[in-house]
Symmetry: C2
């Protein structure tokens, strides 16, 4: 087996995970969650989003959260921004990295961002230019790369075009999203092989959702292709708005567990990660869906 | 990608799945569950076990269940038997296939079967001989092939030895079990590569548990090695007695979903399978953990 020696996990729980939660979470709880995550060895933690508080009330106080978290050297703390207004807020709080987004499906982008894909990329041109001018790294999410809740199948060529355009406006890293958790390893092969014809694997991340249980199979296959950046969320926090009751984000514990078994270094302490998720679970008043998380929690309870 | 064109799914929900459930399930409900499964296109359904009613009360009435189910031609209905007494009962009801079991970990086998591995295989010698004499096919489960709750790591050489001995007493097919859901794709590679040095892949099955979310990654990797028999349970029914609260068996829906995406034929109608699980869920009064199952259920509810 010829796998990368180490991978970078982008922890998206505090943003992608919490944005879909019904519970109101205090700034103090969000800060503690991020600080617990910082202590696990994770090297990238997406802290929040500077989006409209009307659209995503769960992330309304991301400025406060970002200011209050205890930032460790060697850990990156990106913030999601949709536009120049968001970038302003990112600059105000001193963020060193932002994440922007578009989609590979026109209908999804219209519904999610009220713009065509080209319009949304055009809107990101100034954001990205200014960010880079200020020394800020830019991650680019591409949603619905393997299937769309409105359009169904998505052409891998479209994914490639969108990534090419994001590259053209100066985006540093591309997070290839299985937004509704539809992908299988054959699609991973097709899409990433195509992307790697133009872009180094070090700039490509897989953002897997576990809605149908395939997330780790997809990560594993991407790993065999040389992909070494994976997005996931602690405890698997984060639902899928298009399938209420179904699980969403890949759980970071599951990812760390598999990578560890494969001898691939993540730098993450699994027990500390479970502590972070175990802090969050009563805050959200919901059962987190992560499997390794639940197995370790159950073993702890049994051993108590 | 060079994958098998089709795979055989061994549905173990009515036996492996139900044996660990707290709820008492009536014969009528078990029969209906199996009959619903028979209608999905599944080609192998493990119906129950002829074990001591004291040890596994959930399966006490397997004789009645076996007699009452509507058996379709082309579908195999194996029954788990631990010993000659169990085989007697299998002969009485006219079973055409049995499943026997041992383990790759001595401590697990002692605790599970109150015998050394060699003693348990010796005990199966007459069972297997008589079964084959009667024209009955014999499946052999090997538990804890990738890790043991008592001993930790399990030597792949030990797995190979046990399979070799089961082959020696006439077992037709070997189900290689990740009993507590610890395995990763690297272990799948090691163990199955070793087994395939002596046995054709057509005689080897992977029995994956999803306790840590790795089941489909393991099945996917086994598939790339040429393995084409996979055990799973409808809706993911079946807990792991060593980690209460954690999930157990791989959900058949997740397996079918992934195989379908990979273009590998299973013969199973996913919607009918969800119907079978949806019948079982209220009977068990518990939420089934299968991810594809829950996603499809949620979509159905949303569409109602």
């Amino acid at each position: 087996m010829n796998l990368p020696e180490r991978v970078t996990i982008v922890e998206v729980g505090p943003r992608d995970g919490l944005q879909s939660q019904g519970a109101t979470i205090s700034v103090a709880d969000k800060v503690q969650f991020v600080d617990l995550l910082s202590g696990t060895g994770l090297r990238v933690i997406e802290v929040g989003a500077f989006v409209s508080a009307k659209v995503v009330p769960q992330l309304a106080e991301s400025d406060k959260v970002f200011r209050k978290i205890h930032k460790l050297s060697g850990v990156r703390y990106p913030i999601l921004v949709p536009d120049e207004q968001g970038l302003e807020r990112a600059l105000e709080v001193g963020a060193k990295e932002i994440a922007v987004f578009t989609a590979a499906s026109e209908t999804f982008n219209q519904k999610n961002g009220n713009a065509s894909i080209d319009e949304s990329i055009e809107g990101l041109r100034l954001v990205t230019r200014r960010a880079r001018h200020e020394g800020i790294r830019v991650r680019g999410y591409v949603f619905t790369c393997f299937g769309c809740p409105y359009e169904g199948a998505v052409d891998p060529g479209k994914v490639s075009d969108v990534v090419q355009k994001l590259d053209g406006i100066g985006v540093d890293e591309f997070s290839i999203g299985d937004t509704i958790g539809l992908a299988n390893p054959a699609q991973i092969e097709t899409v990433f092989s195509l992307l790697m014809m133009r872009h180094r694997p070090e700039r490509l991340a897989l953002h897997a959702h576990d809605t149908r249980g395939t997330a780790l199979a997809n990560c594993y296959h991407a790993l065999t292709l040389g992909i070494s950046i994976f997005d996931s969320s602690a405890g698997g926090v984060g639902g899928c708005p298009f399938a209420p009751g179904a699980t969403g984000n890949l759980a970071t514990e599951d990812l760390v567990y598999m990578m560890s078994g494969l001898g691939v270094e993540t730098g993450v302490d699994l027990d500390k990660l479970v502590d972070a998720s175990a802090f969050l679970e009563p805050v959200l008043k919901t059962r987190l869906p992560g499997r390794t998380y639940q197995a370790i929690r159950a073993a702890r309870v049994a051993g108590e």
